[in-house]
């Protein structure tokens, strides 16, 4: 169902389009970091708008940890095909060789090797000077402090004390040797904005966001969906069918589902308006320690 776009979404959309155009005007080798989630879907939609009628003028980079939901991978490939996008997929070959996985190595090491290190490898190998991401400032406290054009030093590190002043809509994309940029066009969007916009614009998202009966197990109070036969069960544990959906998608053993009946976009937006739980509550990797996002970002996590 198509609804009209509220004025504040129109303002956010225009700001994001402006940012994406600045990237392409200033960068030598920009790339979109495509994570297949709802934010990436919105980002891609905005990129198509920003350069219309020309094609999206940068490739999509997906860091494949090999532990993504199967639905995500098929959605990714279908999306790339549908819009004629230049999709590039990278997996950390060292991690693959050592069979780094979330069960044996824990979420910390697994994330470092298969996500952070993999991303750094791909950005360095691709010689990308600007990586565009779908992160939003409302997601987490340290993100709330980050600039739209965020400079990374050598080794892709983030120094929150040395951020460039960023005034008006003037984005400084100039880089010193060894520096790269992360750009976040959705900085000023909230999770609710994202869903309201997806509804208003009829944007396709991975079906995992919609409630459906799925095989699940409960771990430390979180509901984990069993996506394939690599799932490790505890003695006596058996998958139970629950009607669940995802608010945030990542690697399947690390992303918790929420019990929900919201089976379409209207129901999701209605649910969002009444929720009392944060989006990242289902992300196991953010709860490892205090300020874990800031620490990961300093080390080069997106």
């Amino acid at each position: 169902m198509q609804t009209t776009r509220p004025p504040h979404l129109k303002a956010l959309e225009a700001e994001s389009i402006h940012i994406l155009r600045e990237v392409v005007a200033q960068a030598d080798r920009p790339v979109i970091l495509y994570s297949i989630g709802k934010d990436s879907s919105v980002l891609l939609h905005l990129a198509r708008k920003a350069f219309f009628p020309a094609r999206v003028p940068f490739p999509l980079l997906h860091i494949d940890t090999t532990w993504k939901f199967r639905d995500m991978i098929s959605f990714r490939d279908a999306t790339a095909k549908r819009y004629g996008l230049d999709l590039r997929v990278h997996t950390n070959p060292d991690g693959l060789r050592q069979n780094i996985n979330p069960f044996d190595h824990g979420s910390n090491i697994y994330t470092q090797v298969m996500k952070t290190d993999a991303l750094k490898q791909a950005l360095t190998e691709g010689r990308y000077d600007v990586a565009i991401g779908g992160a939003r400032r409302d997601e987490e406290r340290s993100r709330a402090k980050e600039r739209v054009f965020s400079v990374r030093g050598p080794g892709h590190s983030w120094d929150p004390k040395r951020q460039r002043p960023e005034l008006w809509h003037l984005y400084n994309g100039n880089l010193a040797p060894g520096e790269t940029l992360r750009v976040f066009p959705l900085s000023n969007w909230t999770e609710l904005d994202v869903w309201t916009y997806i509804l208003a614009e009829s944007i396709d998202v991975v079906p995992l966001y919609f409630a459906a009966p799925r095989p699940t197990v409960e771990r430390d109070g979180l509901v984990i969906v069993v996506d394939d036969d690599r799932m490790r069960f505890k003695p006596g544990e058996r998958p139970v069918s629950r009607v669940v959906r995802f608010r945030s998608l990542g690697c399947y053993p690390l992303s918790a589902a929420v019990e929900s009946e919201a089976a379409d976009l209207n129901e999701i937006v209605a649910e969002m308006r009444n929720t009392r739980v944060s989006e990242r509550a289902g992300r196991l990797i953010d709860q490892d320690q205090d300020a874990s996002m800031e620490r990961k970002k300093r080390e080069g996590y997106f």
Binding site: H8, E13, R21, R141, L167
Partner: protein, 613 residues
């Protein structure tokens, strides 16, 4: 669903309770999820400053250094909405050392909430924030007098602070002020009226935010749109993409490229959602014109009368870098989608934000605000900041670190044509140098005092002269006896010293000469400025590379000894830095070869480059 978007700046002195107020506002608007609330309760016990209670400040101070130190360092952006309005709130730090972050937050805001501690009244930081908010064009301000519980909710305390503030705001230009007494910790007058201050009958903070009208007059002004990029997917389509800065545009309207003056009509306003009948400020669009005119990134499409084309602007500049701003320094000047080289030609005054008076200065330090004149290498279509934030606000970018080091708001501009313009001369540089059988060049010898610059330059000139070449020498010491005798050795004077010498070198190059300049010229930025004065192939940076220990040992004029004794200040290599060239055309290591051999190397290089035949 909200029907508008308001950008709000929250500012005020340290410890006046800003983060607490914002945390409270977010909490009462239901923006804080339960699991975040649980984490907040946990953090409050560990880091909190509110005994036994919830410290809402921890909700917004996101960096670990901020939580450890209990202060806000960087601007944070918060989002909340009410049924009426969606808000973007920039939470700005109070400390003077983070003024640049405060300015970042203020630049995009429609309204400022200025916090004051009822016990302390207006503090220097309060005045500074009010001044900066006003300078950045914020015309609506909510004065939130906080911690009313600690002054027994006294009406007279509140009234006195409000009266003090009106005295201050009278000097700030037009400002619409709403004063509200609050207790952020308990929520009084934040979202619901306080029962503890029956004497106050005004609005709550949230109501004030909901009912404020965005003050932009952008739509009423003439149409201007800086072009970000040209969309050319195929031969049939050519569109100019950008965000409308001011005015409204419709198909059929006559527009012009403000930079070149060429005219056309708007054929279509293209978006992926279909063509538009009309576009307004802040809309991101693509314009198709009815004929091909030359338009590229950095140009401004405008409806007549077009914006002025300035080659010189005067602006309030907020300086944001540890290295001070000097006259003579050159930066990248970024305005709209345009980037050009801008040279600081004058720093007239510094604004004392405490007294709101101006005082004459020669340089601007970190977080200082001054009235600065900048000369632009190319003409730029721009407006006064009071007319357009988008075409009147600019940033300055350091050409070496590439960082943003300053922000400016144009108060005055001078259009190039009509004032001073270049006479086109029939006999030019090429003609003059051809007659001499050489190509003009600047040989810029840089290095420490006593490194051997003048010795080698002298030998080079003798050889060139013997070959029948036309040369001229500029020596640091000699020039200071005449042209530059009004200058001392402070960093600002050194910059001006180099600027003048670079300009003189340019004139000699125009005369067709090979110019030998022997100057310590310790800063990379100034040497870059000198390089920019002439064509790239005409400039050779020659690094006379002698270690400082060797220079001290030689010390023919006894200068190092005097600098060590404190008799000379700002002496390069002793108490002032020397920035070595990173990529000089020629490097002359004086410990490895005698001056005669090194001079020969320079002459060989000139031959290799075809400067001398």
């Amino acid at each position: 669903m909200p029907d508008s978007l308001l950008r709000v700046l929250a500012c005020g002195s340290v410890d006046d309770g800003k983060s607490t107020l914002i945390g409270r506002l977010l909490f009462e608007c239901g923006t804080i999820p339960d699991d975040v609330m649980l984490a907040l309760e946990r953090d409050s016990k560990r880091f909190g400053t509110v005994a036994g209670g919830i410290d809402y400040a921890l909700l917004v101070d996101g960096l670990s250094a901020e939580r450890d130190q209990g202060i806000t360092i960087d601007v944070a952006y918060r989002f909340f909405e009410t049924p009426r309005r969606r808000f973007i709130l920039a939470d700005a730090p109070g400390h003077e050392q983070y003024t640049r972050n405060m300015v970042t937050g203020a630049s995009g805001s429609d309204l400022a909430v200025l916090l004051v501690d009822a016990r302390k009244g207006l503090l220097p930081q309060t005045r500074r924030h009010a001044a900066i908010a006003s300078l950045l064009g914020i015309r609506q301000l909510v004065l939130a007098v906080n911690k009313m519980d600690l002054v027994a909710f006294g009406q007279d305390v509140f009234n006195k602070i409000v009266a003090d503030f009106y005295r201050l705001s009278g000097k700030l230009g037009p400002l619409q002020v709403t004063a509200i007494p609050v207790c952020a910790r308990d929520g009084d007058n934040v979202t619901s009226p306080s029962t503890r201050m029956p004497w106050y009958s005004g609005t709550t903070l949230l109501t004030a935010l909901e009912s404020a009208e965005p003050t932009s007059h952008a739509a009423e002004r003439t149409f201007r749109m800086p072009i970000q990029l040209v969309a050319r997917p195929d031969h049939a389509f050519r569109g100019y993409a950008g965000t409308v800065a001011t005015g409204v545009i419709r198909p059929g309207a006559a527009v012009m490229n403000a930079v070149s003056g060429t005219e056309a009509r708007v054929a279509r306003i293209v978006t992926m959602d279909g063509d538009l009948d009309e576009a307004a400020p802040a809309d991101a669009i693509t314009l198709v014109l009815d004929r091909e005119i030359d338009v590229s990134r950095g140009d401004v499409l405008a409806v007549a009368p077009p914006p002025p084309l300035a080659d010189q602007v005067t602006a309030w500049v907020v300086w944001m870098d540890e290295t001070p701003l000097f006259r003579g320094r050159a930066y990248l000047f970024m305005l709209g989608s345009r980037s050009v080289v801008g040279t600081i030609t004058d720093i007239a005054n510094r604004l004392d934000v405490n007294t709101l008076t101006e005082e004459p200065v020669r340089e601007l330090g970190l977080n200082e605000i001054g009235r600065v004149t900048i000369s632009l290498a190319q003409r730029v279509a721009c407006e006064r900041y009071s007319v357009s934030r988008e075409l009147g606000g600019f940033i300055l970018i350091d050409r070496l670190t590439r960082g943003t080091v300053g922000a400016g708001m144009i108060t005055d501009l001078r259009a190039g044509a009509g004032d001073i313009y270049w006479h086109r001369l029939d006999v030019d540089k090429r003609a003059r140098s051809a007659l001499m059988g050489q190509k003009p060049a600047v040989l810029w010898f840089t290095g420490l005092s006593a490194s051997g610059k003048s010795t080698i330059a002298n030998l080079v000139e003798k050889r060139l002269h013997a070959q029948g070449r036309h040369t001229m020498s500029l020596d640091g010491d000699n020039v200071r006896h005449g042209l530059n005798r009004d200058l001392g050795f402070s960093e600002a004077d050194r910059v001006e010293n180099i600027r003048r010498v670079a300009e003189v070198s340019r004139l000699f190059v125009d005369a067709g000469l090979i110019v030998l300049v022997s100057f310590i010229s310790p800063y990379r930025a100034e040497r870059m400025l000198a390089r920019d004065c002439v064509e790239d192939s005409e400039f050779l940076e020659i690094f006379v590379d002698t270690p400082v220990e060797e220079c001290r040992r030689r010390d023919p004029k006894g200068l190092y000894a005097r600098a060590d004794a404190g008799q000379i200040r700002n002496f390069t290599g002793v108490d002032a830095p020397y920035e070595e060239p990173l990529d000089p055309e020629i490097r002359l290591p004086t410990l490895e070869a005698p001056p005669e051999v090194l001079a020969e190397r320079v002459v060989d290089e000139l031959m290799r480059r075809g400067i001398v035949g």
